[in-house]
Amino acid sequence: MAHRVLQIKRWLFTTNHKDVGILYLVTALYFFVIAGTLALLFRIQLSVPENDFLPAGKFNQAVTNHGLLMVFWFISPLGFAFANYFVPIQLGAKDMAFPRLNALSYWLLLFGGLLMLAGFFMPGGTADFGWTAYAPLNTETFTPNPGANLVAFGLLMLIASVTVGTVNFLVTIFQLRAKGYKMLGLPMFVWGIFFTVLMMLWAFPSLQAALTLLAVDRILGANIFTAPKGGIIWDHLFWFFGHPEVYIVLFPGLALALDLISVFSRRPLLGRKVIIGALAAAAALSFGVYAHHMFMTGVSLSYLKVHMFTTELISVPFGIITILAILSMIGGAIRLSTPMLFALGSIAVFIIGGFSGVFNSNPVLDIANRGSYWVVAHFHYVMVGAALFALFGGLYYWFPKMTGRMYNETLGKIHFIISFIGFNILYFPMFFLIDMPRRIYTYPEWTGWGPLNFIATVGAFIFGLSHLIMFANLLYSMKHGPRVDRNPWGAWSYEWMVESPPPEYNFEGIPVVQGNRLMVVMANGAKPHVELHEGNHLSPWPLLISLGPFLFLLGLGMWLGQVKFALPLIVVGAIISLYSVYGWFRDDFYERFKFEEPPEYKERWPFTSIHRVKLGMYFFLFGDAVFFAGLVGAYIFMRLEAGATLSGLVTHNILLGLLATLLMLWSAVFMYIAARGAKLGDKTLALAGLSLSTVLSLAYVVVTGLDWASVFAVGFTLADPAIATSATTALAHVLHLLAGLLVALYLTLKIWVRGFTGHVPETLDALAVYWGFLAAISVLVFGVTYVF
């Protein structure tokens, strides 16, 4: 019993990257089953013309949630399950750079997903506007379903999870490599995750901006997306995120397939550096191609041609990767084990997905493709085919490492063959349904789409049910499979040099890389992690700090949908949130959570002289810049396009704006001075800087509030889209500042009471950078929304 309680405590409070990885894995597969079931439901509906299995509303909800769950809560988290488990080991690290934040990003993901699912149980149903959630269909006017609010909240929690995870992975990959481990020597999977998180860093904030504006529309009754042409700004913000998102989903799987091909053909990859360069090029290009989703929205011809060009350009890096992957196998001793079969299957479907993608790059061809089943087939070939097959290959590949036991090879091969055939029966016919619109819940018989749809539905069941073989195989083998040694595949990377499953801190020594040799050296026989085996790496706060907002947002969504018992949930959620933030700070105050400091024997190029807290802050802010750019961009769009004719000069008092901006600026200067004080060990200077900065920022909040009060007092409302967007920007800025003030308060207390212990100087340094960023943003916001 006590053991079981300990087990429960371990899984709830864990901060160990391998435990978090397992949690990710189980959660991803859970959402896979739910989203897959939804898919089977609507495939039944579509199997014959004029079917009435699912009515239109239910069908749209199923389609929407299928898309959102598969993209955000299944494929990406499956990739990140492996990333959590294996990237630190492959780097030669004992954990992630921020173990508690790692657990936090898992719990935010889980509760975000649960929040989404809760939408189904709201009266009136959940979101039914497609995973792209085009405006203005997604607004209160056209989708009053209260569940849609929960979907938006769930996505916002997901974005929080992604932001935290992104920062964590970047710092980990940059600073926790084993001594001597050059970036170029890392396994392709780490490179895939590296480019994935880079894209996540800059892409997700754009979605965050779009969803923030949507929340303002839906909750505060603003008129942003319902303004004339207002929906277009959703397109921009969504697809600026949405195109990189496709590669975010694809890259972990694609990179993993490259590793698998190399290991199972016993040949190093051909042109490794070229492949890495191609991944980088594709990641960079992904930010400049998104208008191919908007070819028909009436954008200008020259703009359209630029995006046509960049979109076709992106076929070059992917073509290079594919061909090099295939040619790498020449001369190898190829073993067609299950993981290899999945990797080859992934490449096979990726070729079709890639070629069909080139068709979409052309505006003329897009006349037929846009909104049709051709597109459905194309992105399922890329996102399901290429990504899912490779990741399932990874599941088989790493299964012996995670459990210490081997799965049944025959069943694995049967799973591959059936799922590969089922997949193609499911999606290939859709290329021939080029004139059938997406997301229609039924179609008349005379369209002639019946037979192909029926074939696709048969394929869907074959594909869907084939995974039961995998679940059965793995669940059985987990307990009863034959035991394996460390390295059943003869692979080269670090995870195969440790026991299966790996010990708690991965290495029984210090990982060091000399030249191209990976080694684990013993430091005079002593185990360098012994002092950490005291259970002090468990923390309840990541769980609670996610549970609080979950309950709060659930309550808020229920309250908006006029469901009973909403208020108690809001109150309990708020209390848990505040208490868990307090708890987290208290742990830090007394330095109870001993997480491993990246020691001297770590490779930290190119950030050798930056502390990981500050580095993490930098990465967070680089992403956050895009969030504010999205909000400010929305304001600019409203002024240019959506008939918001009044400049900020008319609506605002520019002198109040100037005063607020100066206050913010000097608040940042004083925070910077406080950080210098901490570095110099000057307590008086640090405390004086912190207090002055706090006072000035509070004054900034007050002046900004006064200014906005005067705007609303004159009679301007959120019905004006320019007012609504600039008010949202100001609100986001103030909320950023308030969050920063919490940390400032904590630091003031800690310096006052305990001096510069722990990470205080580094945290204050990072906070000063944060304040500098907020000052820059306030200048930008002043310059644009008050003057333009």
């Binding site: 200008s300 680089f622 400010v632 961009g633 901006t661 200067v669 060990g681 820059a776 310059g783 333009f788």
Partner: protein, 107 residues
């Protein structure tokens, strides 16, 4: 209570001291310079001297970047952070350019 302070004071060597003091002086200078620029900018707008959108945009971009690069320590960091900052600026510009030019010219 005084322990950490004393420790901190002892550890700080001369080079760090010099660097931090220089940073401090620069921060105050940036505060004054940006404030002055902001006031001039506002004055220009109020009096109508700065009327064209391009002039406004350039003024705002210059002050914003100035504040960001100085107060975010970016000028003091190595090339890694500077590279990431430049990429961020490019990506922000990409989003802005798309929003501004990805519009209809047709009626």
């Amino acid at each position: 209570m005084g322990e950490g302070e004393a420790q901190g004071a002892q550890k700080v060597d001369y080079a760090v001291r010099l660097r931090e003091r220089r940073k401090l002086a620069w921060a105050v200078a940036v505060g004054f310079m940006s404030s002055a620029l902001l006031m001039v900018f506002t004055l220009g707008v109020v009096t109508g001297a700065l009327t064209t959108g391009a002039a406004l945009a350039v003024a705002v971009a210059v002050i914003t970047l100035f504040v960001a690069f100085m107060l975010m320590d970016i000028v003091w960091e190595g090339w890694g952070i500077q590279l990431f900052s430049v990429i961020t600026v490019i990506i922000v510009m990409l989003l802005m350019l798309n929003i501004i030019f990805g519009r209809q010219v047709m009626p």
